[in-house]
C-alpha cells in the first residue's frame, strides 16, 4: 500500500468534488481543482518534511 498514492487519490476526489460544487463552469472549475489539489498534496508533503526531524 502506497501512502502517497492514497493521499493523491483522496486529494483528487475531494478537489474534483469541490470544483464542481463551488464553480458553475469550465475554466473556473479547472482553476479551483488545480489550486485545491496542489495545496492538499504539496501541503501534506511539506508538512511531512517539517515533521521529519521529530521522533
Amino acid at each position: 500500500m502506497d501512502h502517497f498514492v492514497l493521499m493523491t487519490w483522496h486529494a483528487t476526489l475531494v478537489s474534483m468534488f469541490f470544483a464542481f460544487l463551488w464553480r458553475p463552469a469550465g475554466s473556473e472549475r479547472r482553476k479551483l481543482f488545480l489550486k485545491t489539489f496542489i495545496i492538499m498534496v504539496a501541503g501534506a508533503v511539506a508538512l511531512g518534511w517539517l515533521m521529519y526531524p521529530f521522533p
Partner: protein
C-alpha cells in the same frame, strides 16, 4: 429579505424562500447524484455520484469501517453521523457485511477516512440540491 427588484415578481421571491421538497432531499441523500439528476444537472450528478462511489469503494477495499454508534464512545457517534451520509450505500454495505472494518489491516485508518469523506460529501450534495431547488443557486 430585500424588496423584490425591478422585474422580479412575488412568485419569484416565493420560489427562493420556499423549502425544498423533502422527497427530493431524501432521493439526494439515498443515491449520490440522484438529486442533481432530478434537477437536470446531469454533469454534476455524474461527477458527484462517481466521486462519492469511488471514495466509498476505496474505503471498503481498504478495510475501513462503516461506523455504528457505540455506548461510551462519543466519537463513534460522529463517525456514524458522517458514514450514514452515504445513504443507500451505507445500508447496502451493512446488509452485505461490507465495511465491518479490520483494525489490524494496514489500510484501516485510510479506509475510515475515505468512508467518512464520502458520507460528508454526499451530505454536502444534499445541501446543494436544497439550494438549487430553492432557487438560491443555479
Amino acid at each position: 429579505m430585500d424588496n423584490p427588484s425591478k422585474g422580479e415578481t412575488a412568485t419569484d421571491v416565493a420560489k427562493v424562500v420556499s423549502a425544498a421538497p423533502p422527497l427530493l432531499l431524501l432521493a439526494a441523500w439515498l443515491v449520490p447524484g440522484l438529486g442533481h439528476l432530478i434537477l437536470k444537472q446531469r454533469l454534476r450528478a455524474v461527477v458527484f455520484g462517481g466521486v462519492i462511489l469511488a471514495a466509498f469503494l476505496t474505503g471498503i477495499v481498504l478495510n475501513g469501517e462503516l461506523a455504528v454508534p457505540r455506548a461510551g464512545a462519543p466519537f463513534s457517534w460522529l463517525a456514524f453521523a458522517a458514514c450514514i451520509g452515504n445513504g443507500a450505500l451505507y445500508v447496502a454495505g451493512r446488509l452485505l457485511d461490507l465495511g465491518l472494518g479490520n483494525p489490524m489491516a494496514q489500510g484501516f485508518s485510510y479506509g475510515n477516512t475515505f468512508l467518512v469523506t464520502a458520507g460528508l460529501m454526499n451530505l454536502l450534495t444534499v445541501l446543494d440540491v436544497s439550494d438549487i431547488a430553492r432557487g438560491l443557486k443555479e
